[in-house]
């Protein structure tokens, strides 16, 4: 029995050591936090859990808290995540309906928009010689891109991004978290108010698509339209931010690699996978066992909650040679940062594209930047997202390019 608790500052500050210890000693471990759950660390067991959706369900029974199936967050999320907390066969129908909005083609089509947003936000900072990579770039660009994807007014991005950012940087269930959750529910109300018009009028974006979509031959109820849009916004708004912040923090510590990356853009493709592996912006998500099953040398019982540590699996020496070291050209790199199996991050094509465009922008336009490491602040808790709240930096001021925010 351990006291593994992924929301503590101890975990935040020592997650690599904790992961490595679990991998070496107890790759499937029991924690007594949050009513008890298993922590799965090794790549093989995690792959088995995440690919066997019959034995390890994502279902979240909101109506009955005594049902052990409480979805993919420990402790359970107060809002249902549609369709992330659904299982096949109905899940597959939702995913098929959503996939075209998130395809590589869709991500490529959005590139000019994102490039313009990157340039516009860098323009705002470049004459001053100071930037906060989270507040001034990493948060706004994915927020704007997500608003565009969903089809919401771009001017409102701060209203949406603030609670999304808050909800993942504070410990689940705490007062700040609850404040953000209330703000999110309000946003849900605002989204819901858009639905009736979009049922009849055609508009751009996912929200309009959802209003006209059918799943299993039926139109989506208003509530589900809103929940899907909120999930996409939660997925889109803060994860890529965290990947960018961790990468810039790391490159600041490793100037030789930074130079290499700036000089050789073709390195970025493999390096992106290595940064995803090393920083694992979404460190862990959960399932519930539906039957008794042996995992590693542990007996899992039906109804047990199981936390899959993507962060640990990405450091498993059985799969990754010298796992603690960044090798920007590592290949193959079967990391689990986007999950595996049927729920594989639907936003992964956007995430890779947005991340690369933001990083390119910084390396091109602020090549000599230095991060103010003393003023940087990590999320209070990395239970949901391993990211930063503040990441200030200074650089030699440059000329703005005169790029306006896209609208």
């Amino acid at each position: 029995m351990t006291t593994f608790d992924h929301y503590t500052t101890g975990y935040r500050d020592n997650w690599q050591r904790i992961a490595d210890e679990n991998l070496a000693r107890c790759p499937v471990a029991r924690s007594d936090a949050y009513g008890g759950f298993w922590v799965v660390s090794d790549h093989a067991s995690l792959s088995r859990v995440i690919r066997d959706d019959e034995t390890f369900t994502s279902t979240h029974n909101m109506a009955d808290p005594s049902d052990p199936r409480q979805g993919i967050v420990i402790p359970p999320n107060p809002m249902l995540q549609v369709p992330m907390e659904f299982d096949p066969p109905i899940y597959n129908a939702y995913r098929r309906m959503l996939n075209p909005y998130f395809s590589p083609t869709a991500a490529r089509a959005m590139e000019p928009f994102v490039r313009q947003a990157v340039d516009a936000f860098l323009d705002r900072a470049c004459a001053s010689g100071r930037i906060d990579f989270v507040r001034d770039l990493g948060n706004p660009v994915p927020a704007l891109a997500t608003m565009r994807l969903v089809g919401l007014p771009l001017d409102d991005w701060e209203t949406y991004a603030e609670p999304m950012h808050g909800i993942v940087s504070f410990p689940a269930g705490g007062p700040e978290y609850l404040r953000c959750m209330a703000a999110l529910q309000q946003l849900g109300g605002a989204l819901g108010a858009l639905v009736p018009r979009l049922r009849t009028e055609r508009a751009d974006g996912l929200l309009s698509g959802l209003c006209r979509a059918t799943v299993d031959g039926k139109a989506l109820p208003d509530g589900e339209v809103v929940l899907i849009a909120l999930l996409v916004m939660q997925g889109g708004v803060d994860t890529t931010t965290a990947l960018l912040a961790n990468t810039l923090w790391w490159l600041d510590e490793h100037p030789a690699q930074r130079e290499q990356l700036a000089g050789k853009p073709e390195l970025l493709e493999h390096a992106t996978e290595e940064f995803l592996r090393l920083f694992t912006p979404v460190p862990a998500l959960a399932r519930t066992a539906t039957k008794d099953v042996t995992l590693g040398d542990q007996e899992i019982r039906a109804g047990d909650r199981v936390l899959m540590s993507f962060a640990a699996a990405n450091r498993d020496p059985a799969v990754f040679e010298d796992p603690g070291t960044a090798r920007l050209d590592r290949f193959p790199n079967p990391h689990t940062a986007f999950g595996l199996g049927i729920h594989r991050c639907i936003g992964s094509n956007f995430a890779r594209s947005w991340f690369q465009l933001m990083l390119r922008g910084v390396l091109d336009r602020m090549p000599d930047h230095r991060i103010d490491r003393a003023a940087a602040r990590r999320n209070e808790s990395i239970g949901i997202i391993n990211g930063f709240v503040d990441l200030p930096a200074t650089f030699t001021p440059g000329e703005p390019r005169g790029v306006e925010l896209p609208r």
């Binding site: 075209p100 395809s103 083609t105 493709e269 290949f331 990391h335 595996l340």
Partner: protein, 63 residues
Amino acid sequence: MKSTVDERRCVGHVRCHALAPQVYPLDEQGYAAPGERAVPAGREAAAERGAAACPEGAISLHR
């Protein structure tokens, strides 16, 4: 050389397509087009890299 994408395993990570777009075309869902197809001549090495990159082990190559 031929490639087979097992559609029961493919979940659309698109690592195969990123490394070898001519070998692994995508379907309208943005997943690797399933089933068996011939690897275009001269693309064998790319086909192998694309197969190795698949985190689901969904791709097999054969003569």
